[in-house]
């Protein structure tokens, strides 16, 4: 369904069919990951570059792993400082990528819209791995994938998103995807971190964490970043934890079978209590595993079309489920 799409820049741009198609494809790849040799040739001959202009462990590893499991050649770059301070503009970065003949670019950047800039300037497929405070579409997709696996549906699901909505690209990607698929989303967080006109996303803004969690099927907890305190957006970690931290007591208002999610890395004891993070409702580690499968699906759907047509000499992988087989074989 996203065969015609060159880039994945945000879930806002995706149609419902495209989202569902990614989720279905991800399930196929999730099966691949459970095989004795979890590797398919879908991206053989293609080169992927992971450009991380902002620190990341989980997302970068997840993308690298997804690429290796699909037989792509992979190069990665991480810069904790700003590229601008080193005197190179994003335009020059783009030109360098072009000169190296890279097919797939995964980019994380501190400036919202940076992946869009690369997408305009490059023929390569661009995947947004988090841009500023805009979107983090593969995180949104893996969250939604996990919810669908656990709950069997998205339509009609009650999802609470708690924390710093304003600065959260995870929140935006979740909100776009969930509302498109028919979930009812309630958000809660400090007024200083609630962006202007947020209700236009089609979400309900709760007055308190308790109100947001009440009757929820899913509680997705956002990471609070320490630099926001320096910016004066909340008085202290203690205050934040008291008012917005998701504790066992607060979670009691959710449905008994509710799941608890967090995109990581967690500030245990701040936005999420220890016993919630490790408790029976938590699916946080499953999110991580699912992340690899979802990223494989996205890589496959963006770049799979470019796989060279000559037959593979490698042994065929263990056949997956029927629709999955069709997807994997059509492109070999």
């Amino acid at each position: 369904m996203i065969g015609h799409r060159k880039d994945l820049l945000g879930i806002e741009d995706l149609g419902v069919d495209e989202i569902v198609s990614i989720l279905d494809t991800a399930r196929t790849f999730r099966e691949v990951l459970d095989r004795p040799i979890p590797k398919v040739p879908s991206l053989r001959g293609l080169t992927a570059a992971n450009l991380f202009f902002e620190a990341s462990t989980r997302t970068r590893l997840s993308f690298e792993l997804a690429q290796k499991r699909m037989s792509a050649d992979t190069v990665s770059f991480q810069s904790t400082g700003s590229s601008v301070s080193k005197g190179e503009t994003l335009k020059d970065t783009a030109r360098n990528i072009e000169a190296m003949g890279i097919h797939l670019v995964v980019i994380r950047h501190q400036s919202s819209g940076a992946p869009h800039f690369l997408a305009r300037n490059l023929d390569a497929s661009i995947i947004n791995a988090g841009d500023g405070t805009h979107e983090h579409p593969t995180q949104g997709l893996l969250d939604i994938y996990t919810m669908r696996e656990k709950k069997g549906r998205i339509d009609g699901l009650r999802v609470a998103i708690i924390g710093d909505i304003m600065h959260s690209r995870v929140a935006r990607s979740n909100i776009w995807g969930l509302t498109k698929l028919g979930a009812s989303v309630t958000i809660a967080g400090p007024a200083t971190m609630m962006p202007a006109e947020v209700e236009r996303f089609g979400v309900t803004v709760a007055k308190s964490v308790e109100e947001a969690i009440e009757g929820a099927d899913v509680v997705n907890i956002l990471r609070i970043q320490l630099e926001r305190q320096r910016a004066g957006l909340y008085p202290s970690l203690r205050e934040y934890a008291r008012v917005y931290g998701v504790t066992k007591e607060r979670l009691a208002g959710a449905r008994p079978d509710a799941i608890v999610m967090h995109p990581g890395p967690m500030n245990r004891g701040v936005e999420i209590a220890q016993d919630v993070a490790d408790g029976a409702h938590s699916v946080i580690l499953e999110q991580v595993t699912n992340g690899v499968a979802v990223r494989m699906a996205v890589l496959y759907m963006l770049a799979g079309r470019d796989v060279p047509a000559e037959p593979s000499s490698e042994p065929a992988p263990v056949p997956p489920s029927a629709p999955g087989r069709a997807i994997l074989e059509a492109k070999r």
Partner: protein
């Protein structure tokens, strides 16, 4: 050359007769088809009022401008010419050529050059460079504070004697209310305004776009409208206290328009300008992260845009000004946060003003021209903006109905940073005349006679 700043009468300048055009002089309510005669760098008269001796001369350049409008030369009191120090973005020569091409005969340039125009030699430098290389009259605006650092006032009276027409730390606000108060007290007897880039730096923070649904949706840091409005309110009170004149640069927010309207009603000496882009675009234009939609103040909401138009119509906003702000492609072709604020505006001004104000019927053409000629000069406390005999022969001839397509790469400015590339606009400049000398001539539209 001395096309710009032609002070007195210059017999060496060949007389011109503009024939067949619709004379529109809003300063005197004139709207009729008549000849306009120019001689020795001055307006000689309309039709029969021109001296008979002139009309019988054989060396007059007669230019047939039938179908076009003949207006007093246009004035833009907010441009950045970038010289000295940022000649890669613009020079006085290229910036004033863009002005001439856009129909402007006079521009006032902002002092945020490198170094800033904060002392006499620097102001004199700009005046000299304008004489040497300018295609328009250049009125320098000097900095309010040394180095535009917001701390120590410049030598205000000496700068006025050197030729500064106003004071501004544009690009930055005068943040300290005490310094603003002193600047207003010192400028008041000199009859020049302090032009305020009204913005509370703390409320602006690291914002890059209007704070609203668009900033929320695309994840860019917002600048709330009140970042501007609180400063406008503060300055209105300081103007009332001191009797000094505050001119609010590039008003962008509905709340600011409201405050200025109330200030004027109280008799406070506050004036204001608005840019073409704030009249035409809203923050929705930023959705694709095009850095040519990044300017400060930012493009705001539809409600703000409508309030700005209302403000222009009822006179709350006195005049129009482009905030022509050239930046190189290297500066602008970057991610949104890294790119500088600002767009060029001189060559697209007419088309956008017509589109925003005249085509929808908010203003008549004479009402628009008043806000591009007499009004901006009044803001600076200067005369002019009229086709009265004896005045400097600054004239703009244009055809309001002719359509053209904006080609950013073909701009006369050294920079091409405009969000209007590819737009089809009405209004073509046929002829720009400064002190009786042609600074821009649209060859295709004009056939020179005799």
């Amino acid at each position: 050359m001395s096309r710009a700043e032609t002070a007195g009468r210059d017999p060496a300048i060949r007389p011109i007769c503009l024939k067949g055009g619709r004379i529109l002089d809003p300063s005197r309510g004139i709207d009729r088809v008549q000849e306009l005669w120019l001689d020795q760098g001055r307006i000689a008269g309309l039709g029969e009022d021109a001296p008979a001796a002139l009309r019988s001369r054989s060396d007059v350049e007669v230019i047939d401008v039938s179908g076009a409008v003949v207006s007093p030369g246009w004035v833009d009191i907010h441009v950045h010419l970038r010289e000295p120090g940022q000649e890669d973005k613009e020079t006085i020569e290229t910036g004033t050529l863009a002005a001439a091409r856009g129909g402007f005969t006079t521009v006032a340039c902002m002092p945020n050059t490198d170094p800033p125009l904060d002392d006499r030699p620097r102001v004199e430098y700009v005046i000299r460079r304008a004489r040497e290389s300018g295609h328009a009259r250049v009125l320098p605006i000097a900095a309010v504070t040394r180095g535009q650092a917001g701390e120590a006032l410049t030598d205000i009276e000496d700068l006025v004697l050197a030729g500064a027409v106003a004071f501004s730390d544009d690009g930055k606000p005068v943040r300290n209310a005490e310094i603003m108060r002193r600047a207003l007290e010192l400028t008041r007897p000199l009859g020049v305004p302090v032009i305020q880039h009204a913005e509370d730096p703390d409320l602006k923070g690291s914002g890059v776009v209007h704070e609203g649904w668009t900033s929320t949706r695309i994840g860019l840091k917002g600048i709330p409208d009140v970042a501007e409005s609180v400063m406008v309110a503060r300055d209105a009170l300081l103007a009332e206290l001191t009797g000094g004149r505050v001119h609010v640069a590039h008003v962008s927010a509905a709340r600011s328009v409201e405050i200025i309207r109330k200030a004027k009603a109280r008799g406070i000496a506050m004036t204001a300008e608005v840019t073409p882009h704030h009249l035409v675009l809203t923050d929705e234009a930023v959705s694709g992260y095009d850095t040519n939609t990044k300017m400060n103040p930012p493009l705001r909401s539809t409600r703000d845009r409508e309030a700005l138009i209302e403000g222009v119509v009822d006179g709350t906003i006195d005049c129009l000004a482009t905030d022509h702000a050239p930046h190189t492609e290297i500066d602008k072709d970057n991610d949104f946060d890294s790119a500088p604020f600002g767009i060029i505006g001189l060559e697209t001004a007419l088309g956008l003003y017509l589109k925003a104000l005249v085509e929808p019927g908010h203003l008549t053409l004479p009402e628009l021209l008043l806000r591009m000629t007499r009004k901006p000069l009044e803001v600076l406390g200067r005369r002019g903006g009229t086709l009265e005999a004896g005045e400097p022969a600054d004239v703009t001839v244009f055809h309001p109905g002719e359509r053209w397509t904006v080609r950013a790469a073909e701009s006369s400015s050294r920079s091409h940073n405009t969000p209007f590339d590819g737009w089809e606009l009405s209004g073509r400049i046929w002829l720009t005349i400064v002190g009786g000398q042609v600074t821009w001539r649209e060859q295709a539209a004009l056939a020179s006679g005799r």
